[in-house]
């Protein structure tokens, strides 16, 4: 029988190492998504203000972050910050900074969209019942905003998880890098291991993102108005 590449997965602690790499991916994603939600909520609320200077600044930030490829941003922070400012940022910290900046911009825009999509008469009919401003937000505006926001925010989160695969290029040893290392180490003994190892990485990403995106679909169905 031909030598199967899958064997490599169970040699030594290869599988555990892959899971370790996955943890780095998940950890960076979780921190970035968490920070993006907090800052994004703030940014989104700021973006609904009518002040022209605020509008202009947030617009520039949003467009800048969106137009730049994430890889360029990663290089800019990781190499640029080190060379120009003498900051010794680790790859992981750089990654968190870049993904938080990006996530905040995207999240902010989603929050702004959700907030302005609540029609004015929703505020008014709350007021006409005698509800106070605080109550109107608590019982009418915020629940509707969250319903519109959640599926979109979850989509953004899965996109962020996937994009973390770029951080290989600034030397962070995450799941994809570990996979590469394993394949390289076994190049001569098991030349066809690439398919199996990358296949395994594929499933690991799938296991992380699939439940999250299912959740988004289910919420969308449950809350469609």
């Amino acid at each position: 029988m031909q030598d199967l590449g899958i064997r490599v997965l169970f040699m030594g602690n290869n599988f555990i190492r892959l899971l370790g790499g996955l943890w780095i991916t998940v950890k960076i994603s979780l921190i970035s998504v968490g920070l993006s939600i907090v800052f994004g909520l703030l940014l989104g609320m700021i973006m609904t203000l009518k002040n022209p200077i605020v509008k202009c600044l947030t617009k520039i930030y949003l467009e800048f972050i969106r137009i730049m490829p994430q890889l360029v941003l990663l290089f800019l922070v990781y190499f640029g910050a080190t060379k120009s400012f003498g900051l010794q940022l680790s790859g992981e910290v750089s990654a968190v900074i870049v993904f938080t900046m990006w996530g905040t911009a995207e999240m902010g825009d989603l929050v702004r969209g959700a907030l302005i999509s609540i029609p004015k008469h929703q505020y008014e009919s709350g007021a006409a019942l005698g509800l106070e401003s605080r109550q109107i937000y608590r019982y009418i505006i915020v629940p509707q905003t969250l319903r519109r926001l959640l599926p979109l925010a979850i989509n953004l989160a899965t996109r962020m998880v996937k994009t973390t695969s770029l951080i290989v290029l600034i030397g962070v040893v995450e799941v994809l890098k570990v996979a590469q290392q394993i394949i390289e180490a076994n190049r001569y003994t098991v030349p066809d291991s690439a398919l199996w190892i990358y296949g395994c990485v594929f499933f690991l990403y799938f296991i992380v993102c699939w439940p999250v995106s299912r959740l988004a679909v289910r919420m969308e169905k449950k809350w469609e108005n």
Binding site: H121, E124, A127, L129, N225
Partner: protein, 248 residues
């Protein structure tokens, strides 16, 4: 209406959005149990007038009194006043994330802090009256336009307001749904509710009103009993307005 208790008094009300007056020196008394219908061409200020009555629009000068007390003061606690002045809007403004019963209960539970069981019983009785008890647990998206408006009326009624404002509540409805909403309003009128109604349904206005107020260009042009107004309007402007509505 002489001698009856004045519920809402409006004196010399002036409203301006910054590009010309929308309401000019409007004065009007609404008595307890009276049904007042505001009519007039589009843009004459009738909806704005209605919205001034419960503070959704700020006024520039003038005064509104409810039960003798000034409510157009900067210190007015609108959340208290609005419990006494219910309002139903043109667009279906139910809260889409809540079921019918929860839409209705929001006011009694959160504003009036009523007992849940008691409020629920009242809500069910009112829903029964408008023929929608079976829709209690439905979401607004599952209702027709006419049904939504009837729920909106119940939501205003359960607060036991002293006066009800209706802002073109049938204007956004399909023609076959108009009747079911108007019937509810007619019944309320018969029971002696005090109402101010803005409408384009002239036959309904004639049937329901104790008094017609004709507004044009932000002014009260004519005020009369419905029969008198529709058969022998006094002013030229009212005549012209009524002429545009008939095909004879």
């Amino acid at each position: 209406m002489e001698g009856q208790e004045k519920l809402l008094e409006i004196h010399h009300l002036h409203k301006d959005y910054g590009n010309g007056a929308v309401l000019k020196d409007v004065s009007l008394d609404i008595h307890k149990g009276e049904v007042l219908v505001l009519i007039g061409p589009s843009g004459c200020g009738k909806s704005t007038f209605l919205r001034c009555m419960n503070g959704l629009e700020q006024i520039q000068s003038g005064e509104i009194r409810l039960d003798g007390e000034v409510i157009t003061d900067p210190k007015t606690k609108w959340s208290e006043v609005r419990q006494k002045i219910g309002m139903v809007f043109q667009s279906y403004e139910l809260f889409p994330h809540m079921t019918v019963i929860n839409n209705i209960l929001l006011g009694p539970l959160k504003v009036q802090k009523k007992e849940k069981k008691e409020a629920e019983k009242e809500a069910e009785q009112l829903l029964e009256r408008v023929g929608l008890l079976d829709k209690k647990d439905a979401y607004p998206r599952q209702l027709s336009g006419g049904q939504k408006q009837r729920v909106a009326i119940v939501r205003a009624l359960i607060m036991k307001p002293e006066i009800l404002l209706f802002d073109e509540v049938t204007a956004a409805l399909d023609p076959e749904m108009v009747r079911e909403v108007l019937d509810v309003m007619l019944e309320l009128a018969k029971e002696g509710s005090t109402m101010v109604i803005v409408t384009h349904e002239m036959q309904f206005a004639r049937a329901v009103a104790d008094r017609i107020v004709f507004l044009d260009g932000g002014e009260v042009v004519e005020m009369a009993a419905p029969e008198q107004f529709f058969t022998q309007p006094e002013t030229e402007r009212a005549k012209r307005f009524l002429d545009t509505l008939s095909f004879e």
